[in-house]
Symmetry: C2
């Protein structure tokens, strides 16, 4: 039996204006902090944005209407003086956060920062995040306008499983 949050987690790209209680945001971040990190470095920190002006500024950098629309944005950062694997660590923590948000009836999506367009640099500057931190995504959190359709076996492909070797 697949974990129900894994089945129910779907990317949300339209959000209701309904507020998200701060204790839900804390639970989501807690789930992120309980994720494994390389050599248990625990070097991830979190910026929580609710201010509309800041959200508008982030939208100017990364686009996507949902960045302005979602009541909360979570920006996770990893301290590269403490880990060689910031991308892996942030990705794993993001998934825990997605799943915990799902458990709370909330929608999320991975808005990737395009490093080649300088988006990471601009976001760090905007939020005052020190140079040594890596940022790979913005996670909007809110109540999705659409009812998510759970994963089923139609999303499973057993031809992608190779026994013993390729």
């Amino acid at each position: 039996m697949i974990i129900k949050e894994i089945l129910n987690r779907r990317s949300a790209r339209e959000y209701k204006s309904k507020e998200v209680p701060q204790e839900y945001i804390i639970e989501i971040i807690k789930a992120g902090q309980f994720a494994p990190t390389a050599c248990n470095n625990r070097a991830i920190e979190f910026v929580v944005v609710r201010n509309q002006k800041t959200k508008n500024n982030i939208f100017e950098i990364v686009g996507q209407e949902y960045i302005k629309e979602a009541p909360v944005l979570i920006i996770s950062v990893s301290d590269t003086t403490k880990t060689n694997c910031p991308i892996q660590d942030l990705s794993v923590a993001s998934e825990n956060m997605f799943l915990q948000a799902t458990a709370l009836g909330l929608g999320t999506v991975w808005k990737a920062l395009k490093k080649e367009f300088g988006e990471e640099k601009k976001i760090k500057k905007l939020l005052g995040i020190p140079e040594q931190y890596t940022v790979i995504n913005i996670i909007p959190v809110g109540y999705s306008k659409k009812e998510p359709e759970p994963h089923t076996d139609k999303d499973f492909d057993d031809k992608k499983i190779h026994e013993e070797r390729w």
Copy 2:
């Protein structure tokens, strides 16, 4: 309330010899396939190793006694002709697999491949994985010898949360 598998997931580095049913491995891989991928590329495939000789060969490359000891190793690979974000995709899928294994009472750990030591290349050669695929870790799956201690609030640090900006 944090998802119980997020609380209970801990890295396992010693495994019992007890076999893992194939249907559990399928469930774990299914959870991996239900993870989000960049632009929904769904470019991840999986090699499942149970053969002791192959496990011994993998141990020769990456070390760690648990590589020989765990009844099953799962090697996830991402097709770089279909995604620009193989590390993110594989990391996110790995976390789903860790959590699903936890739900099944199984232990896992992220054994990273050190690219700088040529470990990724050697693993791909050993398993016949084509050049275009990225591999970042080996996931042993089995019954942990140790009872895992769930995460609690002692693993949570609210000083790592920054409101509105750094």
